[in-house]
Symmetry: D2
């Protein structure tokens, strides 16, 4: 059920007012007329699908249409007042449980993937990441290793007791990614790829949904709604920077978005200071800021030899830098009564 | 062949300099060292794919890496100094030929689609548009009529002698859209959907590539490069507004982008003031500005009853408003020695 | 008189509703309560100064406060339905009369200023510009030549029959600038320097008010209102680019702003493609776009030797480039039934 | 001393190269030519003032000019490797000492100012704030109480042992503000009011310089350089949000800017989550994020009755909310080995 307020133009005629009401009621929605001394207003209550589909703003005499309830429903706090906890292969995210997602940008050679897995696990990571399908702005850049990469990632995760997350870009690859991964990532450039959102919504795997570079928080929650509306309730959001005007950082890291989402939605939200800043020196302070503002986890690129990384090397932390950071995050988490998730004995067994 | 300049840190050591050169040469690229009194620089020349794949910035001692040739090649003016002309079912776009693309946002009922086609054709449109698959921010909004819509659009175009353009969102639908349409549109939200770009690149249909809301012009040209690199040289770009901070218009209409693209690339570029502004009152002046700055065409939503449109009604012009606008565009085009394209007798026959 | 609508929270209590009404009425404003089945609304009508000063949004139970009339009054179309025409030393701006403002960024040596004046006058300029006080981001850059510069500018303008415009940055310099100039410019960085706006509002000289780099159109009109509210009705607005994310141009040239301002305000508005783009190659097409969208004039930096300019040389046109552009602008103006202003015989005499 | 690299166009001629070198050397700068196989480069080293004043980019044959040293000098880390500590009436800011600046947006009635001072002091504030001169977007809004306000603020600060900070907008008021305040604030809208920066640079009072809404970090440091270059070394920077596209918050809070500034400059930097977010519910989490990212203090608006505040009431915290927040900030500070500053016994005595 959605609610909007139609504000009529000051010079609106009686005929136009009647026309607006007729149009609204013809669509099976309720109209509530309120005449002021200076301005007439019509409240509209009705089915979201209908209101969304109808260009009320185009009816003659209408000045503006103001929504008073958010256009998303399943993602809203109202629908689910308690914070949701998403379980990724035994690692809980949300409700005081922090995800520490780490790993290289792209899946590397098997041995290197094992080494990095060992290093990040030791450092305190609880979910392992790596891209088998890479969105690259250049068609001439490395595009990822495909299914072979999925296997390598899975084996490295299993060998070191970490569930794995990897990105999917092609709706035709959702099935195979679903077979290998514990969590499916939708990248920032695909946040409004509604075909892909619908497809991952049909799986029952947790989804890591990254915010698009020019997406409002409402856009982000609407994209989550796409997934939720297909029956998949396991969505974790991720703030990773929006487009800014200052090229001193790759993107503009929007930590307030975390606090805003916490007010509007029950879904967990983590931060990704690697992609937000694009600079290793800024990752540790920005990760701490993310935890302090209330994020349910931190996603960081870690590589044991950034200059040989297949993708995005310059923004990766070294394992020892990551270990130092996790130590600080752990203390910060304690201060806020939170803990870095670990796999419980039943799962680990 | 790409060229970059590596600027080394002021405190770089001899060992680091040698290490950078070794790394560059080990990759089969040429390094050219230039020692200044205050700063040492290494020029790198090599295969684009290799340079793109290598995180030179992550090598110790490197301060910055500055590209001196653009990362796109097939899309560049250097590669193709003459302006390209794209042929869409007999309508030429570019090189002084203007496309007048018009039609409703979404494909409507067959009769209405016929009526609108007749109206825009009469007004001066030369390509008919309508969405059969709609990217909607809300999963509860009208999602398009699918193949049925493609047929309706095709028939309306044929009946009134206009080639048709329609959007594709799903790589699995490229084949069917290719069967019905004369031009395939990639929407702004999919500008960096590299899977989809690759798929339309494999067809031999003209592609209308809309600029993403936070895409730089280099991003746009790199996305064109994806299509071109698959062997499809028929790409038309479209400026349709970028994300701005002032909500008085839907997006920020970037006409300078048209002039910038003209300098960097041979590809035609048109403007879409409907999506750029989201306000019918601003469409005519902004369309004229687009033609004045050098655009190769104008894409406008036209509907004979905006308040009953299935999608985006409020931003559509009425047919008579569109006709007035085309009259003005025609005069402006003449002033610049351009013409609105028509299908030649051989094609029309 | 201003009007706002207060939307109350869904969980608002009766006591809170009464409290809001009491607060509104205690301030001498009228409150109009409208209870819906799902949402209660209070319309407020009252003196602008009071509404502006009162934090209605902070009253318990209030969800949102929506203005339904613009916060500016003297600058609004409602207050003055006819387009205003501003007279700058005999040159009319607005109402179909185009200003062609041209000259170097900073005032140069007297001889050079005479040469450039002769060149731009011959090319078709009707107002001469040059900065005697320069806002520079670096304290180490050339800061302008002060009163000496004002004299040089004045003499060059007089010698060639052009009124002159120059920027003021310091409220203590308004008086002296007023003595020498025919029009006082407020630069983009000072658009919200309310002290300076108030000071120029107290003169009776035409003011050229440039839009700030992150100013909304409402912000711009509010700044004009500052000047108008002091009794100076001679305000000409100027679009000169807003902050954007793509560094390919200096700023993002917002031509739609011209059309938006035309709808909201009676004040003339011109465009400045020099500062908007920062690139000479983009100035001509962007100037034409500005005239096509409805601007009342064009402000362009012209210098006869850009590489020796004291400031902003790289974005200046050469006199012959400017002459070609004015020829094109003249044709475009004719198409739209406008003319480039000239000083009438009575003034010129 | 500044250093730039001039990159020449690929088609540059020998004559053009010589011309560039001559122009550079004629200006007393050193040119260092470096011919590559594909690209020729000229390094330029010289006096900042000269390089800044010269439009090297406008010389024929020049493709780009890239600065390799920052254009600010006194503000840079290179010039002053140790973190600066600014002393505001006995309260240290920087070097592990946190400023807790709190108070109402505008100076209120004397009694209320005393009450709020008592409340924030008890809560843990160490510097008291309040605006006597208010930058308001509307000429009809409350503009501040002037010198009367300065007195009220001073008395409230003295009565409760807190130094005071207040904004100055008019260069003619710097002297009087200097008489009353312990720290002079330059607001975001005046960050590039170079006249005002120069004027406060001539005092010896600490300056709180707020980042403009569309200012890059380099812009901010250049504005600090204005103040420093006048001999006033007591500058504290303040991140308070930049212009963003999502209206869910007033501005976009850029915490990464704090970490970036720490790398580039020795100056202390604090955060202002009140103006950055404009929403009381977001202030506490965003304040904590600011401290976690490394800020040297937090600036927060506190009012005991936000709905009766003379300005910006809706974004103020209540005293008890502020007290809770300071308790959390104190714990966070301890974790990072920092302390909230207090006036030492010698000063307090």
């Amino acid at each position: 059920m959605a609610v909007v307020i139609i504000i009529l133009k000051s010079e609106v005629t009686e005929d136009q007012i009647q026309h607006v009401i007729e149009r609204v009621e013809a669509l099976g929605m309720k109209a509530h007329l309120s005449r002021g001394t200076y301005r007439t207003i019509i409240g509209v209550i009705g089915d979201e699908q209908k209101i969304g589909a109808e260009p009320l703003r185009a009816i003659p005499g209408v000045m503006d249409v103001i929504p008073v309830l958010p256009p998303y429903k399943l993602a809203s706090r109202e629908a689910h007042p308690q914070a949701s906890i998403v379980d990724v292969g035994g690692i809980k995210i949300g409700g005081g449980n922090l995800a520490m997602i780490a790993g290289p940008c792209a899946v590397e050679e098997p041995e290197r993937m094992m080494d990095i897995a060992a290093a990040v696990k030791k450092a305190g990571a609880n979910i392992y990441r790596g891209g088998a399908y890479k969105p690259r702005t250049s068609p001439y850049a490395f595009q990822g290793s495909g299914e072979e990469g999925l296997k390598i990632l899975r084996e490295a995760g299993d060998a070191h007791g970490m569930p794995v997350v990897t990105e999917v870009m092609d709706p035709r690859c959702v099935e195979i990614v679903d077979q290998y991964a514990d969590m499916i990532q939708i990248g920032a450039r695909n946040m409004q790829n509604f075909v892909l959102l619908t497809e991952v919504g049909r799986t029952r795997k947790p989804v890591l949904l990254k915010r698009g570079m020019s997406a409002t928080i409402e856009d982000l929650l609407m994209s989550a709604e796409y997934i939720l509306s297909q029956g998949n309730s396991q969505v974790v959001l991720c703030e990773r920077g929006v487009k800014g005007f200052d090229k001193v950082t790759r993107n503009l890291y929007d930590v307030a978005a975390v606090a805003v989402v916490k007010g509007l939605s029950h879904l967990p939200i983590i931060v990704d200071p690697s992609h937000a800043t694009g600079r290793p020196d800024l990752i540790p302070p920005c990760a701490l800021a993310g935890v302090a503002v209330g994020a349910d986890g931190v996603h960081i690129e870690v590589h044991d030899c950034p200059e040989r990384a297949k993708s995005d090397g310059p923004q990766a932390l070294l394992p020892r830098q990551y270990a130092e950071l996790v130590t600080q995050i752990r203390k910060l988490a304690e201060l806020f009564g939170k803990t870095i998730s670990t796999i419980g004995p039943e799962k680990a067994a």
